[in-house]
């Protein structure tokens, strides 16, 4: 499905955070939105996920403005995981994942056999089958995040939006989550748009990067095209050294801040 952003301005109340964004989300690829705090990347993701109504312009899914679409129908094509989420009370992994079937269920009818199969499949894809009856509160951070992703997979979406899915996770769990996303994209052609803070993590798991600053997409392209000292300096105000790993993926080593008011302490 084709996801396109045209002339989009969005923000909160009267404040405009995003100005005149035009962007096409590449189908079947992982696109990561990068940028400093407050640049508007989460606002952009929220608007794509119809959590925020655009002030001007729109996000189009196959030519239709998403904020005019039936929200339940949209949820069958597009799933999202907000940055802050918590499970109330005592919920097992299986129960959480079953919520993902909501947009497919007819009102007031019990779960069908097909619903059950999709939930099983989502648990299998996220390797959570054995943890199915465990309470979410007893899982590790990475396992819990996998369970939430499994819930979005049970929606059987073609597009998945993830807002900082690795925040608050330790390094191992961060890779656990991004590798899962990578695998899902490889095996089922899922289109992924996510926000990440860690440049090297983003470089490792993304097909495309979009660098945002002051409410505008300044650069977008492949990982190698964007992982350049001059781009990172403009976007993040940092000095970096870029190297290329043995697997051909570039990584950056930040060597200091170049914000004019900040102290330079690199030599």
């Amino acid at each position: 499905m084709k996801l396109e952003i045209r002339n989009l301005s969005a923000g909160y109340g009267r404040k405009t955070v995003l100005e005149e964004i035009n962007f096409e989300i590449p189908e079947g690829k992982i696109t990561t939105l990068l940028g400093p705090n407050g640049c508007g990347k989460s606002t952009l993701l929220k608007t794509i996920g119809r959590l925020l109504r655009p002030q001007r312009g729109a996000v189009y899914l196959d030519g239709k403005a998403i904020h005019t679409l039936d929200t339940a129908k949209l949820a069958r094509d597009l799933a999202l995981l907000p940055q802050l989420h918590h499970a109330p009370g005592e919920l097992t992994v299986g129960q959480l994942v079953a919520f993902g079937r909501f947009p497919h269920r007819r009102a007031f009818t019990p779960a069908s056999k097909h619903d059950q199969e999709v939930v099983d499949q989502a648990l299998e894809m996220t390797r959570l089958g054995v943890l199915r009856d465990r309470l979410l509160t007893t899982l590790s951070g990475g396992e819990r995040q996998r369970a939430w992703i499994a819930m979005t997979l049970a929606q059987e979406p073609e597009i998945l939006l993830l807002d900082e899915p690795t925040t608050f996770l330790d390094v191992c769990c961060q890779y656990e989550v991004t590798e899962l996303v990578r695998n899902l994209n490889r095996t089922s052609g899922l289109t992924v748009v996510m926000v990440l803070h860690d440049l090297n993590l983003a470089a490792r798991c993304s097909d495309r990067l979009a660098a945002i600053r002051d409410g505008k997409i300044r650069y977008s392209g492949t990982v190698s095209e964007l992982m350049k000292p001059e781009i990172l300096r403009e976007i993040f105000e940092i000095e970096t050294e870029i190297a290329v790993g043995t697997d051909g993926i570039p990584f950056c080593i930040p060597t200091g801040s170049c914000r004019s008011t900040g102290e330079k302490n690199h030599g």
Binding site: G49, R50, A75, H85, P88, G89, E90, L91, T92, P103
Partner: protein, 336 residues
Amino acid sequence: MKSLRELRHLHTFRLAVLAVLAGLLVLVILLGLRFGSLRLSFSEIILTLWNAPESVEYRILQDIRLPRVLLGVLVGASLAVSGAILQGIMRNPLASPGIIGVSAGGGLGGVLVLLALPELSHLLVPAAFCGALATALCVYLLAWRGGIDPVRLILSGVAIAAMLGAISSTILIFHAEKVAGMLDFAIGSLSGRSWPQLEQVGLYMVAGILVAELGASRLNLLALGDDVATGLGLRVERTRLLLLAAAALLAAAAVSVVGLLGFVGLIAPHIVRLLIGADFRYLIPGSLLFGGAMVAGCDTIGRMALDPSELPVGVIMSLLGPPFFLYLLRRRDHEA
């Protein structure tokens, strides 16, 4: 032996608890018919209802006890379900029917009708009902700003309740003699309530409970947060408005009959949650059964405790409820 914490999320365990609660409710209803200033054994009750429709006993059962017990069950069920809904949509364990202003609004409606039209005391219930619903609507409109933020809703409710409470108190101070009936109302009492009151509000209660039952799985989604619920395709604002309306309707109907019986709406859902967990598909019917048993049971105790005089159900509930609740709360801490 599994702990309650492990058992709680098992389907069969939850159904078993619901069955026990249903049994408890039936038992409470039977005891409510049996006990009172005139004591009847169960066989006498059956014989009277079957054979002696002209007797005094029949009249007591038919005109006093049965409607009062049923009203107690409905009021308790309504308040408990209303509390469960509000705690769900506000994601706040301290939410109760009082928090959206229904108690204060119902109280003011009652005071005004007693003051202005003392000869029309049968208007007390409809007046309290209208006052409660109008206040809930007012709180909702004040909290609306392109959407309902639970915290803003709670704060608006507290503010409005304080204001209406002040107005009621002022009236009570200057016209104490005219509104003597208000004391019962302020404590929560089923004394003298019968079929007319049941007819006035019964339908609203049943309708509200039905909406809550049908909305249970949506309440589960709302509990995940607005953004997650939207992502899953739920129309969050519309769902919240509908459920809030049901909660207001239930609480207004209950308050207008029984008065300011606040405790059950706060505590009954919590007690049921401690027993069977937070899944609303079980919590709503559980709250309904337990809230009904709680109010009807406490009312029966109130009728017996100081026989021949009567203690209002609100007093009994506030005396017996907290110790039981605190016991469950401490048990949970042990498990955790």
